[in-house]
Symmetry: C2
Subunit: 351 residues, 2 copies
DNA sequence: CTGAAAGCGCTAACAT
DNA sequence: ATGTTAGCGCTTTCAG
């Protein structure tokens, strides 16, 4: 492969100076239509595809790249349709503005071996879609590189803009709905609360050490609605299997709850499956509610009662926050609204 | 925000020259442990986080970035668990080698407005996970930029390495399986064959204009097994809803097929749902087979009979091909093996 | 083993 | 409207 042709080559071929050639491409400055024409022609002639991103980057100090740190387990994030859709919204919103989204795998472990990219990849800003914990070495690494960060969820006291959804209000709406239907024996399935993964009932001790903002806010929402769960089970992940496991734990008992409120649609789907396994009809024997508003066509003919969050809008809001930061502004935290969507999986308890 | 500290600052602070400081970080050259120590100390002191990716890039001509062109519809790719998992495998394999994955949205339309990044984003190589069509302007754009391309599927005659799976062998295995079970009336649901999206029976004319290599190979495999479908329906997308739509078309007839062989697991799941809607039991009344080997826990207690393809391995193989290209080699096409996995959704037809 | 100097490809003052 | 000149931050010969 021969050396790439450069702006200098084009300029030479067109018989103009490099800076003039530059203007022909950037359009940022006065240039006669004729010379511009000539430069562009020379470029086509030489197969020059426009100014190199690298040179431009170095000069401007901007890479045009926004890193998305895929924390924890790359795999897990990708299995979660919520993150994927938010990511989609981000990329779709950033792309037309000339910014690319770089996937940055990171274990968050102390040994950086695998987190090479966190400390080396070019980025103008970084986004942590979730799982941002206070003491994460990822933060330190980014901070020391001077890379501004936007959070897709997480603590609001880190001096870092957070773009989230109304988690608390969401579960409040759900709880209200169930209470209004007349449910008194309601069980709750939460997202992983932090630390080691487990599927187990949550006691006060566990509740005290909770380290997962969305889970925390979604639990708060229940209290707002005056709901006192008969039992709360922590799921090991926001996955269908984990929901099924939790569901079995909840429903395979002498006196099962009349409704199960879960922290995510995938968990709810799992509970639905567990109920089916146990011969319980939904919603006649037990109501099930989710959170997220995913499109789950495979649940048909059931439609999950859920609180929908605006994925694309969240991605776009994150993109906006990033743009603001890059423009030197200090974006405020954003909390996007959620909406209760009634499906076929909730109904009044049997008399 | 004050200016970033640079290598020059560190060098000055350590009382050495810039080049020496550079060596302290890169380790590529002789340097005394003492000075190295001193430089590193100065760096820590100044909060210098290591050489800037930008400067390094410009110098080396390498950005350390592999673009993944999300063709067609960003949304659609992200909704497809297959692409997502392959992407995951890629990122996981590239990351530790110091290469990042950049998401590059592209419409593939003539007007480049939205495809800004295809023509401007820094990348050392580009990967088209799927949907690579011969005449795509995306190809031209990348070619003219001198960016080497790897395909995750597609035509083998483009002079571009292709990393694919044994599509043809896969459906052959599936067809054999159904034939051995005694099925004679088998229907087929294909992936979109190219061009306009539709859900409709496929005739010879349509078959002739097929422009989707995987679909084509998967159809070839049926012939290899001597299977002659009673009807072939093209789905409008590889999605559950599309599968359900195709399933209704196939099964809601006087004399439905005894088995449905689909081109993807999501399509199969859709057919399963359609069968359920129509009161057909699976596999007693109709057998259903998929392709991909996705983990679909929500199908429980059913387990789809399918051909599994190695997602992570495919991602890794693509990564290998990229590395080879960057090393100046010319990687050969790769075809990864698939494996028939029997589930509970296929059985002999009723007598 | 270390330092000086020359760029990588581009843009932006500043002059003309 | 165009050319000249200086770098952006780094690596890499090449001398010393």
């Amino acid at each position: 492969m021969t050396d790439r042709t450069t702006l200098a080559d084009v300029a030479a071929a067109a018989g103009v100076s490099v800076s003039t050639a530059s203007l022909a491409f950037s359009g940022a400055g006065p240039i006669s239509a004729a010379t511009k024409e000539r430069v562009l022609a020379a470029a086509t002639e030489l197969g020059y595809a426009g100014p190199s991103a690298l040179g431009r980057s170095l000069r401007s100090g901007r890479s045009g790249i926004v890193g998305v740190v895929i924390g924890d387990q790359l795999r897990r994030s990708f299995r979660d349709p919520v993150s994927v859709q938010v990511l989609d919204g981000m990329a779709g919103s950033l792309g037309p503005r000339g910014l690319g989204v770089l996937l940055v795998p990171a274990t968050g472990e102390e040994g950086y071996t695998d987190d090479l990219l966190v400390s080396t990849a070019p980025m103008d800003a970084a986004v942590l879609l979730f799982g941002a914990r206070r003491e994460s070495p990822i933060f330190d690494a980014l901070r020391s590189r001077g890379i501004p960060v936007v959070l897709g969820e997480g603590p609001h006291d880190l001096g870092v803009p957070v773009v989230g959804v109304a988690d608390r209000r969401g579960t409040e709406l759900l709880a209200q709905h169930l209470v209004e239907l007349g449910h008194r024996r309601v069980a709750v399935v939460t997202l992983p609360l932090g630390g080691a993964r487990r599927c187990a009932p949550v006691d006060d001790r566990r509740l005290a050490e909770i380290d997962c903002p969305p889970a925390e806010h979604r639990l708060d929402g229940l209290r707002d609605a005056g709901l006192d769960p008969v039992v709360t089970v922590e799921a090991s992940a926001s996955l269908v299997e984990a929901g099924a496991e939790a569901g079995r734990l909840l429903l395979d008992v002498a006196e099962p709850p009349t409704a199960v409120l879960t922290h995510s649609d995938l968990l709810a789907a799992g509970v639905l499956i567990a109920a089916r396994e146990l011969g319980l009809r939904v919603p006649q024997d037990v109501s099930v509610a989710g959170f997220d508003g995913l499109d789950l066509p495979w649940l048909a003919p059931d439609v999950l009662t859920s609180v929908s969050q605006p994925f694309a809008a969240k991605g776009a809001a994150i993109a906006d926050a990033v743009m603001a930061i890059l423009a030197g502004e200090t974006p405020k935290d954003v909390e996007l609204p959620v909406e209760l969507r009634l499906g076929t999986t909730t109904a009044p308890p049997r008399a």
